[in-house]
Symmetry: D3
Subunit: 150 residues, 6 copies
């Protein structure tokens, strides 16, 4: 069973940019927050957007890109979250791991899937370093010819 997500009292939140409350938003930022709420069907807007809201252009650009990219397409939304978590673990972004693990659960990731995800991330990380350490040359059969286009 997946652990219940009981809220705890975290350490005093500290960030490089103060998190903006709703009433501090510029009109442009407020419009993006409204879209986040409508798209996600929840009143809760997480801290990432509250930090980014200091820069309404960046907020708009990032939200519109993520909305477009994370929507179901050739890959379903849950698979995209698994990929997102994999990147976040490899980058070492604790915030992103926490928020996208929550998103993946909300999109249906169950405990068995989560545990396999973790194992694949670990395995890939090990073989990544082995291949790098051994400086293994890429096999010819994996390559693609290209004439530099013009």
């Amino acid at each position: 069973m997946l652990p219940s997500r009981q809220p705890v009292q975290p350490a005093t939140p500290v960030s490089a940019m103060r998190l903006l409350t709703d009433r501090e938003l510029s009109p442009e930022a407020a419009a993006i927050f409204a879209d986040i709420r409508a798209t996600r069907k929840t009143e809760y807007v997480n801290n990432f957007w509250r930090a980014l809201a200091h820069d309404p252009a960046a907020l708009k650009r990032t939200w519109e890109s993520i909305k477009q990219i994370m929507a179901p397409g050739a890959l379903d939304a849950k698979t995209k979250e698994l990929i997102y978590i994999a990147v976040s673990v490899a980058t070492g972004c604790d915030y992103c791991i926490a928020s996208h693990t929550a998103s993946a659960r909300a999109k249906g990731m169950n405990e068995a899937e989560y545990l396999e995800l973790v194992s694949v991330i670990g395995m890939a990380s090990e073989t990544n370093r082995l291949a790098t350490a051994l400086q293994v040359p890429v096999d010819e059969v994996f390559l693609i010819v290209n004439e530099a286009g013009r």
Copy 2:
């Protein structure tokens, strides 16, 4: 359409460990190569295993772990390859990107899926750095209580 994988003449292969030919394998390594061929239903054994074969214990351990982890389970084999590619891109392992992109194609990844994978990796990388730069504190609702177990 996915690019055809026409073999090209690569730069002279160079590695930290010389790639072993089949006739140079120790009996233990040869047994693993036989299992790789049987499991993957192909005579081709890629360079990664030929470099690792200098250390039969590492070869055996790595192959058995990867065989166990990458087999279809709660997640299907193609999804696992997508996760593998995501980690490899984030780590910057060119060998692993090339070999697992080939594996993912062999397991059914089509061009549209590949392109969405790349976009998710790019998007996650951007927001990873934004969250890190802004030092965004994790939202309480994403946390899990723990009493340090004994």
Copy 3:
């Protein structure tokens, strides 16, 4: 003096996605290429865009973001390129280092500036690891209070 950038015969270009020539572009991708040429005032479109052109939506999104972000603003265009190079070195993206070093030169980076850039990147990388290895706690004076906003 900055080294002259004499073109050489590189290894056969190889990529995960074949580079698209102009005549292979979709209408949407062709429109973006036209904007790249107009904005940069050059006929030359570099390989990054030719690989990305397989996905016109990604091409459009990435180009429009980069055009917006890299334009002179509070920071001038050359300073933005220095920051871009710093990130690319820390990520280990050889393509990005090569292309943005060329961009930075085109925007006025001279040799002395380039050499200082390299030294700052090296120094930061060293102290990054020292601080991480020693697990140095952040000084109180560097922190910002936040009440999780709502």
Copy 4:
């Protein structure tokens, strides 16, 4: 406006090496602390140096290098701090992000500059991964000929 830097009560400071107080310094370390105070025109010596002070030779080497590299030269001191932050975000060093964001502010970085810095870091991180994922070959025009020197 930049958030005010009100000190908060942080979690109990924890590090791999206990932070040294002034009266615990060796004479060599004390001399370096005196130079840090004189150079920076402040009594405050931040935790990084207090952890490093266990190794007076490393303290001296690191301080002298950083003093030399971060001094205004072809690049001004503020630009150097922006580059430093970019590397620190890409490395994922929270301590370094916090301390050099403070330094950059002290050297005149305003909020608009900070926000653009964050956007450039994010954009570069995304395109770094896209170029790596797509294995884009470096354009000939970006290369430099070299005869291996002797």
Copy 5:
């Protein structure tokens, strides 16, 4: 002198997976915990294993690999811990830095060795980035010939 390791009251432990107590372990996980205790000659099982215990197959695979790899062989156990710390610092894994610094001490690492380890990690990180920034080509004398084996 190495700092004494006095236990402190840490922030409320928070993890993506709740840490399992001994009485929550599956029989397979309990058997691994028994082997960890017997091998390490201590009752204490650290949090890493308590998080991993949700997946008994991963717990078994990881423990058996680490037991095999970290045992004294051509390299002694302390040297292996130094290498482990170096990788953990370069990856930016705070948990791993803390736990393997403790392991290295337990296996005899003294303060002078620890301080030299930290300096080597810092130096290597700096020159890594310098070589990457400058795109230094590998010297012929460092290369190894390979005929792609079959």
Copy 6:
């Protein structure tokens, strides 16, 4: 047995900075090259220094630091090279892996030691990511009390 290091014809050397030949060195750089040759007891100066020689101050600073740090001390010279390789693999610096693998061999690293080094790097990389993915909290027993010094 370690693979023989037969020189091969590499791809045309390409770097961001042209490699300097001996007769292009400034007097300051020439003095450092003389010290490199005297210290290492070989006429051969590898490409890293030839690229860095464009900036004599950086050349001098880097060489003097590396000479000090890599000399035998509490840790012997070979162990320091193993740590250097581990960092270089984790950073993904191909130049550094090649050059320091050669250095480690020259200082006595045998094949069995090399193979164990590679396995430890791989194992650490895997558990690093597992601990990060699972967001394992640091055990109290691994922490150190600190009063922020003054």
